[in-house]
């Protein structure tokens, strides 16, 4: 390998190994027969080794010297394009995180997909996804970044539509793909603008070591840097492009609708891709290109993040599909991350990204177990029910004790109760949002307030979910009393990942101090320079306020859904319908985008049919009239004269027709003859 790399560095080779191993596994699985059970272990082994390598890379790079190697890729004119690997705190964190989350999901999948007909294909796709995602986080060139970005989208597309015989799955993966394309256009245009501006694709040069982007300024409507100046509007366009990419990948407000539908894929896929890793790619992208955003653009980000968080949380309140609730909570938490990026809490955002990955993956795997068991009941008793509908569940805590415990851990982390990792990261975001809003206009104060309110909503819907699934009595049994129940937590392939992730969702992995987020080692290494110490009043009030109220909310949910005494929500109110129908966004899209386009088509059709055809009919009628008139006059007035004219016209026509006989060779003749004459004239003159 010595000739390819400028120098052989063990860290870099470990990184390459970690990235390439899943690819190798994917290729091997692709060659295996579709039902081969070997596939699962190949992929799991690959990701396990990848995990070890990532851990070694992480240990070597975290809080130490960032590593950056590159080699010349190709040249365009005189511009040399380099490609290589860039390892800094951000990328090694993601590297470790992705492989660490992928490992339990792989183990889980070996059991979860056991009876699938296309077992090895599943692991082919899964390993391919891991490769794409790991590649995405370590590359140093925006072009490569874009390539991996596309690969991530592509493998997500494959996995959402894994059960492609289901019509809904096909619709869902199409939707996801198209939504992601919208984002990709944005990213591509942003990359092109950056290249046009700075003549390099190198992330390190653009954003880190030389930080060309940060050094450029906007002045007088011009975007000025050492390499020249272009109109400032391009800077906005680039930011909008990046935002579109982020919104599409991380499911932010206008482009989020694909994520709930993406739940049609296998649950383990939802856990890995649509909860923990792929959707975090958008936040990661923000982290990579952070210096591009100016203050006001960051504010816009914060507003959208906050709105997304709030909207998704309200939707999650009323959904009955187990996975959709989790999907909306994912959108909501991603909104938090974007919000954090927007208010400048760069470290908190990434910290939340890391903690969220663990507990959300955990919750999805729990959902997978529950759905799997419900499916089991459904098939055993031949029932016609939706195994994901929480209306049919309840009281499962006795049947699935381990699942119940880890589910509670995961939910508490999602709510942000102390002693969990979620508390640390979420409070960080809230506190910094309040600090940020200090001294800003009243409207902007709505952002932290909204985030705070959203966190209580989170507490409510998570409690509702847990209570409906695990407490009370088994509602399916109430409906069909005769059914038999043979369900349990499942084998070690289910238990080990759940326990592993549950442990990772508690505080000790991130901080020895369970209450102060700024003591978390992950946060300390990522925090920005101008960080406010724990002197502000918010640092005390907010955690207490959040948690006390959260506990009340949890109790309220418990009271409403378990005891079902006294109080029940109206099922018909405006807010209920708004939430239940997911803010009507899908319908709005259908009405506002799909319908108009179809309508435009219809209008064009109508126009063609009525106006243009009508015009033609008019002309036709007119000409018919004229023709009859002519016929009359022809017959009675100018017969002889006309005959003469006709003969003349005919002879001219015949003469002209000789040249238009459709014979290719005749045309060639004439052409060559003319060329020849021209030549001869040229020579003679």
């Amino acid at each position: 390998m010595s000739s390819l790399l400028p120098y052989t560095d063990t860290i870099i080779s470990y990184t390459i190994a970690a990235v390439a191993l899943p690819l190798v596994a994917s290729l091997i699985n692709f060659c295996l027969p579709v039902k081969s059970k070997l596939a699962g272990w190949v992929s799991t082994l690959a990701i396990l080794l990848g995990c070890v390598f990532s851990a070694m890379v992480f240990a070597a790079v975290w809080d130490q010297q960032p590593q950056h190697v590159q080699t010349m890729w190709f040249t365009i004119g005189t511009t040399k394009i380099f490609a290589g690997i860039l390892l800094n705190n951000l990328s090694v964190m993601m590297l470790l995180l992705v492989s660490l989350i992928a490992l339990p999901v792989h183990i889980y999948s070996t059991a979860y997909m056991k009876y699938d007909d296309r077992y090895s294909r599943y692991f082919t796709y899964l390993s391919f996804f891991c490769f794409s995602m790991l590649g995405l986080v370590v590359v140093d060139s925006l072009v490569l970044f874009y390539a991996f970005w596309e690969l991530v989208g592509f493998s997500s597309y494959l996995l959402i539509g894994f059960w492609f015989t289901k019509d809904k799955a096909v619709q869902a993966n199409k939707k996801a793909f198209i939504m992601n394309r919208i984002g990709d256009i944005g990213l591509l245009s942003a990359i092109i603008i950056l290249f046009a501006k700075f003549h390099t694709f190198d992330i390190a040069t653009l954003f880190i070591s030389d930080n060309l982007v940060f050094k450029s300024v906007i002045h007088d409507g011009l975007w000025i840097s050492a390499s020249g100046q272009i109109p400032a509007v391009w800077q906005y366009v680039a930011c909008i492009g990046v935002f579109m990419a982020v919104a599409a990948k991380s499911a932010q407000f206008p482009l989020h609708t694909w994520l709930p539908d993406a739940m049609e894929g296998p649950t383990s896929v939802s856990a890995l891709i649509h909860a923990a890793t792929m959707v975090a790619a958008g936040v990661f992208l923000l982290g990579r290109v952070y210096p591009l955003f100016t203050d006001s653009e960051l504010t816009v980000l914060a507003v959208i993040g906050c709105f997304t968080a709030f909207m998704a949380a309200t939707i999650a309140l009323t959904q009955n599909d187990l996975k959709r609730v989790l999907a909306y909570s994912t959108i909501s938490q991603l909104g938090y991350m974007i919000l954090a990026m927007g208010v400048g809490a760069y470290g908190s955002s990434l910290f939340h990204l890391a903690t969220h990955a663990f507990f959300k993956c955990l919750l999805f795997l729990v959902a997978g177990v529950v759905i799997h068991e419900m499916q089991h009941i459904k098939e055993e008793n031949d029932l016609d029910i939706d195994p994901q509908n929480i209306q049919y569940m309840g009281g499962l805590r006795k049947k699935l004790p381990l699942t119940f415990i880890v589910a509670v851990v995961g939910s508490l982390a999602l709510i942000g109760i102390p002693l969990t990792s979620g508390y640390l990261s979420k409070d960080g975001i809230l506190i910094q949002a309040f600090e940020w809003s200090e001294g800003r206009s009243a409207w902007l104060k709505l952002i932290p307030a909204g985030a705070l309110f959203t966190s209580w909503l989170t507490a409510f819907y998570v409690s509702r979910l847990i209570v409906k699934v695990f407490f009370g009595e088994f509602r399916l049994l109430k409906k069909y009393p005769e059914i038999k129940l043979h369900i349990s937590d499942g084998g070690w392939q289910y238990r080990v990942p759940l326990i592993l992730l549950a442990v990772c969702s508690l505080f000790p992995l991130f901080s020895l101090n369970p209450f102060f987020y700024e003591k978390a080692w992950l946060f300390e290494s990522l925090k920005p320079a101008e960080f406010m110490a724990r002197e502000n009043i918010y640092h005390t009030i907010i955690p207490i306020g959040v948690n006390i109220l959260s506990v009340f909310v949890i109790y309220a949910a418990y009271a409403i859904y378990v005891k079902q005494n006294t109080f029940s929500f109206p099922q018909t109110g405006f807010f209920y319908r708004l939430s239940y129908n997911q803010w009507y966004l899908d319908k709005i899209y259908r009405k506002a985008i799909v319908k108009p386009i179809l309508g435009l088509g219809k209008t064009c059709f109508w126009f063609d049919r009525n106006v243009i055809d009508g015009l033609i009919h008019l002309i036709e009628r007119t000409s018919r009239m004229v023709a009859s008139l002519t016929a009359w006059s022809d017959k009675h007035i100018v017969d002889g004269f006309l005959h003469l004219m006709a003969a003349l016209v005919q002879s001219i026509g015949n003469f002209a027709r000789k040249f238009q006989n459709g014979k290719v060779q005749y045309y060639l003749y004439s052409m060559l003859l003319i060329v020849l004459v021209l030549f001869i004239l040229k020579i003679l003159i």
Binding site: Y669, L672, L673, L676, F679, I680, I683
Partner: protein, 182 residues
């Protein structure tokens, strides 16, 4: 009269004579097969012009590919074609062809005139190339250089050609598919 010069005349003669035969022959199959001789003689001429790689490529693609393709197409289009063609008006000099002959001869006259006027051997850039020893000599090996040039200087045309070839491939496959196939 060196051997190379003799070879040049022999090759040119074969090329032109076989081309004329291909042009005048009534028998289509013979016309195709004699065209193969033309192509081979041309490959020889390329070798004399010190372009051995182009010569071999000519043999590979023209003889091994294009000619066989033409033969295939001809044979696939059925025997009736041949019958129709063989019963053409059988005179050697056909009145219908006289204008074509005149056109070709006049063109030849014009082109020869231009060639002689242009005096290609004394063009300034060729003189310069000889002076700077930028001329291929019989002993020099050119393939390495061609390879490097293809991948650097001419990369864009190279890629464009590859895309074009792909398009031609798809297009030809689509066109020659049986009707109602898909």
């Amino acid at each position: 009269m060196t051997l190379v010069r003799l070879l040049f005349y022999v090759m040119s003669f074969i090329a032109i004579a076989s081309a004329l035969y291909a042009a005048l022959s009534k028998n289509l199959v013979r016309s195709i097969f004699i065209f193969f001789v033309t192509l081979f003689a041309l490959a020889g001429l390329y070798v004399i012009a010190l372009a051995d790689f182009v010569a071999v490529t000519q043999v590979v693609i023209y003889v091994g590919g294009i000619l066989v393709l033409i033969l295939f197409a001809f044979m696939l289009s059925g025997r009736e074609t041949l019958n129709v063609i063989q019963h053409q008006k059988g005179k050697f000099i056909n009145m219908a062809k006289v204008p074509a002959v005149i056109l070709a001869v006049l063109f030849l006259a014009v082109i020869v005139n231009i060639i002689l006027k242009a005096d290609a051997d004394n063009l300034p850039w060729i003189k310069q190339a000889i002076a700077q020893q930028n001329e291929i000599t019989p002993t020099s090996s050119t393939i390495d250089n061609i390879g490097v040039n293809l991948m650097t200087t001419y990369l864009l045309p190279f890629e464009a050609i590859s895309v074009l070839l792909l398009m031609a491939l798809v297009g030809a496959a689509h066109l020659s598919r049986k009707e109602g196939g898909a």
